[in-house]
C-alpha cells in the first residue's frame, strides 16, 4: 500500500509544484538550508548507515560533495533511503534534489523518465554469487541452468538476468523482492541458489551474510552497469553544478589535491591548480556556476578527491577491498576522465 500512497503523493506533488519548481533547484536548496539526497536503503560501500547512524559510502560522499559545493559545508545533507522502485518517483516529484543511489545510466531513464545523469561515479557490471559450500563444482554462470535466482525488482539487473538466461538458452526461476534486505535474507536462508546484482554490490552483500567465506562471486560479468547520480530534467543550472562537482572530484585527484594538502595547494605556483582552486585573480570559476569561487576547495575539504573517496569506501581502506580497475583515472589506464575546469 505504501507504494500506492507514495505514487499518489508523487502524482499530487507533480501537480502542485507546478509553479514552485520554476524557482530553480539551487535556490530551493539554498532556501531550505540543506540538500535532500536520495540514497539506497543500505548497500555497503555505496550508501549505508554506520553504527552511529551516519550515512557512509561512495554515493553518500557524493551527496556531501555537492552540499559542500553549494554551502561550503559537507554536513548540510539529509539522506532519504529509497528502494529501487521508489527512487525515480522521489526525484521526479521533487521529494529529493539529487539521486545518488547506485543507479545505472540507461537511455530510457535519461529520456522517458525525465532524468539527467551527470556522469559515472562507478563503472560496474552485473555478476552472480553462489554458496560454494552448498554447490561445489559450479564455477561459471553458464552452469546455472535450473537455478532459483534472487533479484531485486525494478532494476536493470532484473532485465539483464532475463536476457542472459534467454541468450544462453538456460532456464531459471526468479525470486523477486522489493527491498535489498529482503533479497539478502532470502538468499541467506537458502530460498535461492544464486544472488545477482552489480558485482560491487555482491562483494558488499557477501560481507553481511552469515558466513561470508562460503560464498563466491562467479567470474562472469554479464552487463555494463555505469552507476551515477541523476537530477531532474529542465534545470540546467542545477544539472551543471552536480555534474561539475563530480568532475571536480576527478580533477582534484588528477592534480594531486587531497583533503590533507588542499590549504597548502592554494598557494601553489601551478596555474592549473590555482585556477581549479579559485585563487587566480578575477576568477569566475565558481560564480559562473552560481557558487562561490572556492567550491572545489570546499568539496575536497569535505570528502577529499575521487581517489580518496573510492579507497575509503570501497577500496583498500574499506572491508570490500575492491581494486580501482576501470575506475582508475584515464592517466592510469582507467575510464575516469574529466573535461578541463577552465
Amino acid at each position: 500500500m505504501k507504494y500506492i500512497i507514495s505514487g499518489i503523493l508523487g502524482a499530487a506533488t507533480l501537480g502542485m509544484v507546478a509553479t514552485a519548481a520554476s524557482a530553480g533547484t539551487l535556490e530551493d536548496v539554498k532556501a531550505k538550508g540543506f540538500l535532500q539526497c536520495g540514497v539506497s536503503t543500505g548497500l555497503a560501500g555505496f550508501s549505508a548507515p554506520n553504527d552511529k547512524g551516519d550515512w557512509q559510502g561512495l554515493d553518500a560522499d557524493f551527496c556531501r560533495a555537492v552540499a559542500a559545493a553549494v554551502f561550503g559545508d559537507g554536513t548540510k545533507v539529509k539522506f532519504t533511503p529509497l528502494s529501487a522502485k521508489e527512487r525515480f518517483t522521489a526525484l521526479q516529484s521533487g521529494e529529493i534534489d539529487l539521486l545518488s543511489r547506485n543507479t545505472t545510466w540507461t537511455i530510457n531513464r535519461d529520456t522517458a523518465l525525465g532524468l539527467n545523469f551527470v556522469g559515472v561515479t562507478y563503472f560496474d557490471g552485473q555478476g552472480f554469487m553462489i554458496n560454494a559450500k552448498k554447490l561445489p563444482g559450479v564455477n561459471s554462470a553458464l552452469q546455472l541452468s535450473g537455478a532459483a535466482v534472487c533479484v531485486q525488482t525494478g532494476t536493470t539487473t532484473e532485465l539483464n538476468l532475463a536476457d542472459y538466461f534467454k541468450a544462453n538458452k538456460m532456464e531459471y526461476n526468479p525470486v523477486v523482492f522489493e527491498k535489498l534486505e529482503e533479497v539478502n535474507a532470502a538468499y541467506d536462508a537458502g530460498r535461492c541458489d544464486v544472488y545477482t546484482t552489480d558485482q560491487s554490490g555482491l562483494y558488499g552483500i557477501r560481507l553481511t551474510l552469515g558466513s561470508p567465506d562460503d560464498h563466491v562471486v562467479l567470474p562472469e560479468i554479464i552487463s555494463k552497469e555505469p552507476l551515477g547520480p541523476a537530477v531532474r530534467q529542465g534545470d540546467d543550472k542545477w544539472y551543471h553544478i552536480v555534474k561539475w562537482a563530480y568532475f571536480a572530484l576527478l580533477t582534484a585527484e588528477e592534480l594531486g589535491i587531497t583533503q590533507a594538502n588542499v590549504e597548502e595547494m592554494k598557494a601553489s605556483g601551478n596555474p592549473e591548480v590555482k585556477r581549479v582552486l579559485g585563487t587566480e585573480t578575477d576568477t569566475k570559476i565558481g560564480t559562473d556556476l552560481g557558487l562561490g569561487n572556492d567550491w572545489v576547495v570546499n568539496i575536497v575539504k569535505a570528502v577529499g578527491n575521487y581517489g580518496e573517496v573510492f579507497e575509503r569506501n570501497v577500496g583498500q581502506g574499506s572491508p570490500l577491498k575492491i581494486a580501482r580497475g576501470i575506475n582508475a583515472l584515464w592517466t592510469k589506464g582507467g575510464l575516469q576522465y574529466a573535461p578541463p575546469i577552465r
Partner: protein, 396 residues
C-alpha cells in the same frame, strides 16, 4: 434536496423564481457539478502539463512494449518477450487466485472456529478462543512473515527434502507433488464426474420433493458421495487406468518435474486465510448468538437432533446476520493480498511495481491499480449482495 411544492406567488415574476426552492435546488446542484468537473479538469490538465514540462512520457501506449523481465509464478504463458499488458494480467490472475483460495479457506476455517467457540466442550471452546485472540490481534504482515520466515524458510534445502507420501516433497523451495498426465481415453473421467454431480443434484431434488409430499427421508449425502466418487472410479476401471504421473526428481539445483507450489504463495495464502478466519469466526459466533434461544429449544421440542437443529434452523437464520459483515472481510482479504510484495509473490501490486519502475509510468500504473482493486471489490460485493438477497428470502 427539498422538493415540496410551495404555492407560487403569481404576481412576483423574477423575484418568485429566485426564491423558488425547486429552482434554487437545481441551480445549486448544477453549480456543484460544474465546480467538480472544473476541479477534475484542472487536476488532469495540470498533471499533463507538468509531466510534459518535466519531460516525462505519459499515456498508456507503454503497455504494448516488451516487458523484458520474468515473473516467477505464472498461470498463463509469460516470458520476457511478452508485453507489459500481459505482465499486469499475470499479476491480476495471481491476485485473484490467492484471494479466491484465501476466501474459501478462511470461510471454512472461520465457520468451524466460530461454531467451536460456542461448543459445549471446554477444550474446543478454549482452543478456538485462543486462536481468535491470537490471530485477530497480530497485523497481517507479521502473520505473513511468520509463515514465510518462521515456518517455510526453515524447511530443509532441496537436497535434503522431506519426503511425503505419493512421491511428494516438501523443502524450502515449496511443496512438490506428482503431476497427473491424462492418457488416451481419460476424458471419460471428467465426463463421469460431471454426470455424478448432475445425478446427485437430481437425486437431492427428488428426495426433497418426496420429503415434502410424504415426510419420508432419503440418505441424499451418502448417495451423492457414491455417485460423485463412484462414477469416475468406474470410468477409470473401464478405460484401464489411462493416467500416469510425472514425479518430481532431484536435479543439480532444485527438484524438477511434477508440480510445485512456491513458498511465497503458500505463506501468503495461509497467512491471509488464518488471519481473516479469526474475524469470520467472530462474525459467525455473533450470527449464531443473534438467533433467539427459543429457536433451538423449539427445534429440540420438534425432535431434531442438535446437529440438525444447527444445520436446519439456526444457521439459515444466522446467515442473514453473517453475510453483510462477511462481505467486508472478503474485501479486506482481497486488499490485504497486496502485502504479497513483502515476500515476493508476484501479485498485481508487485508486478505493477516492477512495470512502474521499468517504465517510469507512475500515474498510469497507480490508476490501473486503483481501477482493478475497485473492480474486484465491486464484483465481490455485487455477488455477496445477490447472495444476501437470496438468503433473505428464507425470512418468515
Amino acid at each position: 434536496m427539498a422538493t415540496q411544492d410551495i404555492p407560487h406567488d403569481v404576481g412576483g415574476g423574477r423575484a418568485s423564481l429566485l426564491y423558488d426552492p425547486k429552482v434554487r435546488g437545481i441551480f445549486f446542484q448544477i453549480l456543484v457539478v460544474v465546480a467538480l468537473t472544473a476541479f477534475v479538469y484542472w487536476i488532469i490538465g495540470n498533471t499533463v502539463e507538468n509531466l510534459k514540462r518535466a519531460n516525462i512520457a505519459s499515456g498508456f501506449a507503454f503497455l504494448n512494449g516488451r516487458a523484458g523481465f520474468d515473473v516467477s509464478d505464472t498461470l498463463i504463458a509469460f516470458d520476457s518477450d511478452s508485453t507489459y499488458k500481459r505482465a499486469l494480467l499475470v499479476g491480476l490472475i495471481n491476485t485473484v487466485v490467492v484471494a479466491a483460495a484465501g476466501i474459501i479457506t478462511a470461510s471454512i476455517l472461520g465457520f468451524l472456529i466460530g461454531i467451536g467457540r460456542l461448543s459445549n466442550n471446554w477444550l474446543i471452546r478454549k482452543i478456538c478462543t485462543v486462536y481468535v485472540e491470537l490471530f485477530r490481534n497480530i497485523p497481517p504482515l507479521l502473520v505473513i512473515f511468520f509463515w514465510y520466515f518462521g515456518v517455510l524458510s526453515v524447511l530443509p534445502l532441496p537436497k535434503e527434502s522431506i519426503e511425503l507420501p505419493f512421491g511428494s516433497f516438501l523443502n524450502s523451495r515449496g511443496f512438490y507433488f506428482p503431476k497427473l498426465i491424462w492418457g488416451e481415453g481419460s476424458m471419460l473421467v471428467p465426463v463421469a464426474l460431471l454426470l455424478g454431480i448432475a445425478m446427485s443434484w437430481f437425486v437431492a431434488r427428488q428426495a426433497r420433493q418426496r420429503q415434502m409430499a410424504t415426510g419420508a427421508t432419503f440418505p441424499v449425502f451418502w448417495t451423492s458421495l457414491a455417485l460423485i466418487v463412484g462414477l469416475p472410479v468406474l470410468a477409470l476401471v473401464a478405460t484401464g487406468f489411462p493416467l500416469s504421473f510425472n514425479f518430481p526428481q532431484k536435479s543439480t539445483f532444485n527438484l524438477t518435474g511434477g508440480l510445485q507450489i512456491k513458498p511465497e504463495f503458500l505463506s501468503l495464502y495461509l497467512a491471509l486465510s488464518f488471519y481473516t478466519a479469526a474475524f469470520i469466526a467472530e462474525i459467525v459466533r455473533a450470527g449464531i448468538r443473534g438467533v433467539n434461544k427459543g429457536q433451538t429449544e423449539a427445534s429440540s421440542a420438534l425432535g431434531l437432533r442438535s446437529g440438525q437443529a444447527l444445520r436446519l434452523v439456526v444457521v439459515p437464520q444466522a446467515m442473514r446476520i453473517v453475510i453483510p459483515p462477511l462481505t467486508s472481510q472478503f474485501l479486506n482479504l482481497t486488499k490485504n493480498s497486496s502485502l504479497a510484495i513483502a515476500i515476493g509473490y508476484p501479485d498485481l501490486v508487485a508486478v505493477g511495481g516492477t512495470v512502474l519502475n521499468q517504465t517510469g509510468q507512475a500515474i498510469e500504473i497507480v490508476v490501473i491499480w486503483m481501477v482493478v482493486y475497485l473492480g474486484l471489490s465491486l464484483i465481490t460485493s455485487g455477488f455477496m449482495n445477490w447472495f444476501n438477497a437470496k438468503m433473505a428470502l428464507v425470512e418468515r
